[in-house]
Symmetry: C2
DNA sequence: ACCTGAACACCGTTCAAGT
DNA sequence: ACCTGAACACCGTTCAAGT
């Protein structure tokens, strides 16, 4: 009662970031404020700063942990076209769960810039399968990632007709696969 | 002196939106606040509300006028591949001038949802040239727009290596053109 | 080590009042 | 018609103080 007035257990980083993510899911980026988050945790707003540098760092934390936890398709030996589609579907599903987080991720790509992350490793693996030369991997993966997040944002902002999104998704994938297939004979 | 204390001429909507755009260009969306904008115009913050409903409406105004003023490639009879590239370049150049505006536009696509706008008409024209069936125009233009804005955001957020953006742009265009070429024989 | 209250410098916006 | 000042309900964050 002396240390933490209204709470039994002490605050944890996990608890902070998971409720923060929930607030973002519910009300967008503007739905998350340090003060609301503190209220949700029955804690003084300033207590949060003992676990997190500032709001930006908190959002960065949310985004990078969520990106790391994303379920990605394993290499099951199926054709690269199918694996690419499965990867895009993974993006797609995650974005529907956490639209606001993806918006932020899209506007702050440096958060997942690390090429060691599973998302990039998975994409690299698939592009190699598709026959892309090694020196084109960075470039092509960047372009594809930008394309797919662009699509997924359009989708979650309600831009696309809701009853058409599945076919729009098919068109997007078909475009990408067709484009990649035509890139086998790249000169550089 | 009685009516407008520190200004000679009365406030105009044009004046408001152009300085607001400049503030966004200089400092991002967070660089634009109603109070800073008013200070920039040497006017009371509340005067703005006489010309604009609220901040959101102001940004919407900025975006839609800028989108309408965008310089788009005319139909010069050149192959659709060249015209598509020219259109993408127009997006690209505009985005470098007004990155914050494009971020907002990308996150609020409803602002340019109207298919009568020149951007859409231009894209439709090029896709028709490429041999796309009429019932695929809406879908394909949506996907391409999402792709290109996605790429352009990645570019303006500094995600792509600065000395590689040109070749990345080429890869993006090549992917799209290749994908479109493979879509001529669509069943539906 | 962890939490807190008061305070600072900001926001967007409403509303009643001025000319 | 156009502009204003005071006020309200919010922000993120610092800092000194508490246990």
């Amino acid at each position: 009662m002396a240390v933490s007035a209204r709470r039994g257990a002490p605050l944890t980083l996990e608890e902070i970031s998971s409720t923060a993510l929930r607030l973002m899911d519910e009300g967008g980026v503007e739905g998350l404020s340090m003060r609301k988050l503190a209220a949700e945790l029955s804690v003084n707003p300033m207590s949060l700063y003992h676990h997190v540098d500032n709001k930006e760092a908190l959002i960065r934390l949310i985004c990078s942990t969520a990106a790391q936890r994303m379920e990605l398709p394993p290499d099951d030996g199926s054709p690269w076209q199918d694996q690419l589609r499965a990867l895009a579907l993974a993006y797609h599903r995650n974005a529907l769960e956490h639209p606001a987080m993806w918006h932020h991720l899209h506007n702050h790509p440096e958060i997942i810039a690390d090429r060691g992350l599973v998302i990039w490793q998975t994409l690299y693996r698939i592009l190699r399968l598709a026959g892309l030369p090694e020196q084109e991997l960075r470039r092509t993966s960047d372009v594809l990632h930008a394309f797919v997040t662009g699509f997924v944002i359009a989708e979650t902002t309600g831009h696309l007709p809701p009853d058409e999104v599945e076919r729009d998704f098919d068109t997007a994938i078909k475009l990408i696969i067709g484009g990649l297939a035509g890139m086998s004979g790249l000169s550089g």
